[in-house]
Symmetry: C2
Subunit: 474 residues, 2 copies
Amino acid sequence: MIHAVILAGGKGTRFWPLSRETWPKQMLNIIGEDTLLRQTIKRIDGFHPPVNIWIVTTKNLIQDIGFHLKPLGKEAERIRFITEPAGKNTAPAIGLAAVIINKISPDSIMIVLPSDHAIKDRGQFHEKLKQAIKGAEQGFLVTFGIKPNRPETAYGYIQCGASYGKSSDGIFHVKRFLEKPDAEKAKAFIREGNFFWNSGIFVWKTTKILEAIETHLSGLSRGLKKISVRKDLEYDILSEIYSSFESISIDHGVIEKSRDVLVIPSDFGWCDLGNWTALSDVLERDERGNILQGNSIDIGSENCTVIASDRVVATIGLKDMVVVDTPDATLVSSKEKVQEVKKIVETLKKNNREEHLVHRTVERPWGSYTVLEKGSRYKIKRIVVHPKAKLSLQIHHHRSEHWVVVSGTARVTRGEEVFDVHANESTFIPISVKHRLENPGLIPLQIIEVQNGNYVEEDDIERLEDNYQRMKKE
Amino acid sequence: MIHAVILAGGKGTRFWPLSRETWPKQMLNIIGEDTLLRQTIKRIDGFHPPVNIWIVTTKNLIQDIGFHLKPLGKEAERIRFITEPAGKNTAPAIGLAAVIINKISPDSIMIVLPSDHAIKDRGQFHEKLKQAIKGAEQGFLVTFGIKPNRPETAYGYIQCGASYGKSSDGIFHVKRFLEKPDAEKAKAFIREGNFFWNSGIFVWKTTKILEAIETHLSGLSRGLKKISVRKDLEYDILSEIYSSFESISIDHGVIEKSRDVLVIPSDFGWCDLGNWTALSDVLERDERGNILQGNSIDIGSENCTVIASDRVVATIGLKDMVVVDTPDATLVSSKEKVQEVKKIVETLKKNNREEHLVHRTVERPWGSYTVLEKGSRYKIKRIVVHPKAKLSLQIHHHRSEHWVVVSGTARVTRGEEVFDVHANESTFIPISVKHRLENPGLIPLQIIEVQNGNYVEEDDIERLEDNYQRMKKE
């Protein structure tokens, strides 16, 4: 059996302000029509033999990622989820997945796919994957080395050693792994020719990686064994075990120390979307080297990435810059320093702001809401409810709500009454009256909600009934 | 008699997106608490003998400038307005003011003050003004030359000639006027020492400037004579005369060609706020040379100006840049190229957008409104009505309106009814029903308006009664 394990955790910092803590970059459609996560899932489509798909993510993201996959329809139903109590980098995530998969499908092949990569040539990727699976079946840890087209300093490198098998197979033993180099070193690597970018995509047997973890990360291995011996693992116990794990990458913790590593040099149009500058490698640029998206007007900029939304973003005479505009936050950075965006996110967090955490538009299982304005004692939201969806039956203790239906039909429960409100009609929900909003129709329901009260925060909600098993947070 | 004529026209391009066509830079409080226009008016305060104040502006701005001066209270009542049918640069504006003032107060002294200057030392400004008035009384055209503290290339220069009167008076004949120099020339001017920045502030007799216009701008002079012979000048006639005027500055058209020009070297902390880069001369900078205003977070930028509003603007590693963020438009420009902002404004105009024309918050005589969101078939506004103020009695033919009172009390006229709506209550105005919103209270009234209809533009308004003599545009 072959299992693809997609790593889909993350803190939403590196593509801030488009990514947020509750909306990390794999949920963004920054390249192409679809999101990075859904692209990663589709990357396996058509591979023979068929592959089981697993997604490993953290507890705070699991529900949103579930909703996020709904557009995949039937395809989504066969995906299984593994929930980490907290993000601990890739080694614990991969170890946990290996233990769980190994239990239901012993000694099977596991493909590890980060969810923030772009791969242009899916056909060639499948070819290389087949080779890798052969290597994995022979008991090796197999990775892909990407043929570098420039002396990039943002990636780690792999140096090839001797051929494995026939030299025409194009599979090599790894001589050594190298950290992100400086410009000098990177140029030397390119000249030498047997250096490749470390792709972070791996293929191995579950048993083999668990052995390697046992050899090189004994603490993690002990915890994983505790997990593997239990029949049903309660979340609290997993959480306790997990809290003892060191936060470490599988590369640093295991692969770089192991001797049984093969590398398959590849050229399938790979890119690791590590931060904003990586976009220039995958998106088309204009004749001045710019990527201009959304409502952007530029005069004479060069080598810039401007991601606008509805608001006008005017740029003049910029060089090597990134400008990203969202409804509640804007980033303007030199490309050179853009990795420091994590410090911006830290500052926002420290100041108890929300711009690192959520977007102005928040996706919910029943639709979405957008905060249009928040003032003293009031908040205005646009709420969209999917056809046939309903919000929880709820009570607010500190606010009343005015609802104006802009399009569609709202079915409103208010106290003991149930009535329909049509487009261009409104209704009022007094403080402490239980209520529910529902879209009985076939087109989306759109309402404007004006909240009034002494306290208009999201946590003033008491859920009495919910279709989505949420009894605390909206 | 002494008359100060404040030039307050402009197209709102150079400080876009803070300035707009309907809200040019003199109405901005970009330096200090008060707006540039009100600072200019206050600059005359305490001058002896007392000075009459006139404001020359264009027809499209006159009403907003009137409302804009209300905070001056009694002071505003003594200001007289001259309305140009269209902006034609400074020569026609000054000529028109001279003709009008000369008619009611023949052969008086006229001080010309642009409304976009900063002057730090008002006391010294008054001293120099007194000297200038003496020169003007002797029949000279008098200007101020600002002592340069750097080889600035954004200003024109004046070269001093021989002393006028006693050399201790510090008044000189002008040897010549010089266009904005290149960096080389500017440095040479500074080395020579007898070069000063052309301040654009003038003092002269009305009769003298009209004579000079007659000599150097005969077309303008003929038009002004037609104006001066009429007892009552109808707007249509003025408009016709004005349309024939060439658009030209008083500097180029008259002063630079005249021989009777005196210059008073001055050092009263003058700055011409010509564009965004000028802010660095008047606002305090941090230790890295940055000006950071509003909700801005910076990491390691140098020599930058960041003007944020409520939304977070995060900047990283920028050099010599201007970033200006407003609710509906953002500008990111190199300082070097920021004068090209006028091309951005042209593009917006050409594309029939509104971001060059109005702000998301529009000031009205009765208060203000802010468009929070516009969608297909709906528009959401926050409306603030000043205590005791009322909007016009009006009808909309294509939209109904839901009003939710957020704070204060609304007196609503709807058809034949008149009733009060209190905080946290709402009401509904159906299509084609005459209505009026009024604040009968002592605190500002704040309502959220949700418009619904096939057409939700500002021009769907029929005014039946208005306290502010507006029967067309809100």
